[in-house]
């Protein structure tokens, strides 16, 4: 099957000599919901910039649905929709005009562009704002406006660069649902985000990029299986009068109503509950101390630290 996106040995060295990408390679399969994660400055935005022609690569190859961007970038761009991190529309144009005009840039007849503009503005809850100048919109509305604009030519591959940054929880959830809906309809989605629970909830496969290198490229399920330990916060029904006996588990008292317990690979949560029940401690609720993906992400980046970096940290 032809990959939706195939990146091979992609390199980018900027004019000032900074090497942003050191020959990264990964594929994204059609229909996938793919997370491209990494800390600030890792190379995510450079990668996306190359895909949409705002950044020129200095080495390697990129194919979008089998179309080599070096051979026919215009055709490859027809398959691609991009929602950038920064707002990049005219603040003085009306919402409807911004979205509808985009159709023209993709050669879409005016009537079709108008129909699709209505369709996506309605889907994204912006139809009532269609006659409003973009500068009057809230941050969340501006992000939805960019999503509507990117979808107008109905691309097969949609790239979203931190689409939920600065968006409130309710809106973020509704955007997740919308993205899952269009993914279910067959659109391949690549997402960069700093909210790791977002990547864990939405994405099936993942690439983690750090300092211009891919440090992990696998499925989220496989990655989570490598988690060797998880830390849980347990809330108890009664007040705890002292530190309970944790037995083989590593735990500590946080306050009179909560405990923090580390479960190593091979240990069982039911054993822990049995052990606590024996001391008349009833657990009413439990949660991970941190997002599981976040723990892996941090550990992977730590492993990728160069010795020089570590010395510099001392």
């Amino acid at each position: 099957m032809t990959a939706a996106l195939s990146i091979h040995n992609l390199e980018k060295t900027y004019d000032n000599g900074f090497q942003a990408l050191k020959g990264i390679s990964f594929d994204v399969q059609p229909g996938d919901f793919f997370a491209l994660l990494g800390p600030n400055g890792a190379g995510k935005s450079t990668t996306i910039g190359i895909l949409c022609s705002l950044v020129r690569k200095t080495g390697g190859s990129v194919s979008i649905f089998g179309i080599d961007i070096d051979k026919d970038f215009a055709k490859a761009k027809q398959q691609l929709g991009v929602v950038p991190q920064e707002f990049n529309f005219s603040q003085f144009e009306k919402v409807f005009d911004i979205v509808c005009t985009q159709g023209g840039f993709y050669g879409m007849p005016r009537k079709l562009a108008e129909e699709r503009t209505e369709k996506y503005l309605r889907k994204l809850g912006l139809w009532d704002k269609r006659k409003t100048q973009a500068r009057m919109l809230s941050g969340g509305m501006k992000r939805r406006l960019m999503i509507a604009r990117a979808l107008l030519h109905e691309p097969k591959l949609l790239i979203l660069d931190e689409p939920t940054a600065g968006v409130d929880i309710e809106l973020r959830r509704s955007m997740w649902e919308f993205l899952q809906e269009i993914n279910a309809q067959g659109t391949t989605i690549i997402l960069t985000t700093h909210y790791l629970e977002e990547a864990e909830s939405l994405c099936r496969n993942i690439a983690i990029i750090d300092k211009g290198d891919i440090v992990e490229n696998t499925s989220i399920k496989s990655l989570l299986k490598t988690l060797s330990r998880e830390v849980f916060i347990l809330d108890t029904r009664e007040n705890l009068e002292g530190v309970p006996d944790f037995g083989d588990f590593d735990g500590r008292l946080l306050d009179e109503h909560s405990l923090e317990v580390t479960i190593e690979k091979g240990q069982s949560l039911s054993d822990l509950f049995t052990h606590l029940s024996a001391q008349n401690i009833a657990v009413t609720s439990m949660r991970n101390r941190a997002n599981r993906l976040e723990e892996l992400f941090v550990s992977l980046l730590a492993e990728n630290q160069q010795p020089a970096d570590k010395e510099a940290d001392v």
Binding site: Q78, L80, G104
Partner: protein, 257 residues
């Protein structure tokens, strides 16, 4: 892209440009009307009466073609440099750069947008001029062609200025320090026959002199220069500036990293 898709992309950019300058008409269409009306009143009517004839015509009749051309030049240039730089500044130019629209279509859309404003302002100024004097166009073909080509030329120049510009200061430097002096010294207000041979020769290095005189020839039938040279010059400049603009775009100059 197929010709149909190219036409759609071009007409979209053109329509957006027209929508932009008509939306802000108090900034784009009214100021030249005020300025040119003042020129007509002060230079043409008040001072012009004391100057007498120039090139066989009253001073008002002589100065009108030059003032129309001045309005066309400044508005064509100003429209494109302002619009394209604003798109860069707001990053909305990325909408176009990430799309399959070819560079030459982007350039053509912006340039023709500048031409539209230049010609609309030129038409408005002409209508105002008719309040002060009568105009009978001698060579309609030359008149239309030279004003169109001049507008294309200065729209292209504005486009290149916008590509290089890094700040709003950068888009006012060329109009203030290059365009305005060349226009004022380009035979708008006087015939170069009034100048000494040295200044006449120097004036002939000013490309705007040729455009103004070609337009004046079209309207009045008189010119300080051979009109054919005006067309050769304008077409040469258009070809050179188009090639330069496309070269800058294909190399992503200040547009892509």
């Amino acid at each position: 892209m197929s010709p149909q898709l190219i036409w759609t992309a071009f007409s979209t950019i053109f329509r957006r440009e027209v929508r932009r300058f008509t939306r802000i008409w108090p900034q784009t269409l009214v100021p030249p009307v005020i300025t040119m009306s003042l020129y007509f009143v002060i230079f043409g009517s008040l001072i012009g009466k004391r100057i007498g004839e120039m090139g066989g015509y009253s001073y008002m009749e002589f100065v009108v073609p030059g003032l129309i051309m001045m309005a066309v030049i400044t508005n064509s240039y100003g429209n494109v440099v302002s619009s394209f730089y604003s798109a860069k500044f707001q990053r909305s130019v990325e909408e176009l750069l990430v799309s399959p629209t070819p560079n030459w279509v982007i350039m053509a859309g912006y340039v023709l947008g500048g031409v539209a404003r230049g010609l609309i302002v030129g038409l408005i100024v002409t209508l105002i001029a008719l309040v002060f004097t009568s105009l009978s166009v001698q060579h309609i073909g030359i008149t239309i062609l030279i004003v169109f080509l001049t507008s294309v030329l200065f729209s292209l120049a504005g486009f290149i200025n916008a590509i290089f510009a890094n700040s709003f200061d950068d888009i006012s430097i060329i109009p203030t320090f290059v365009l305005t002096p060349l226009t004022y010294l380009g035979g708008v207000f006087y015939s170069i026959e009034l100048l000494s041979p040295f200044w006449q020769a120097l004036s002939k290095l000013n490309p705007i002199l040729y455009m103004v005189n070609a337009f004046r020839y079209g309207v009045l039938g008189v010119s300080d220069i051979n009109v054919a040279w005006a067309f050769v010059g304008v077409l040469t400049f258009i070809a050179a500036l188009s090639a330069w603009a496309l070269h800058l775009m294909s190399h992503g100059k200040r547009l892509r990293h």
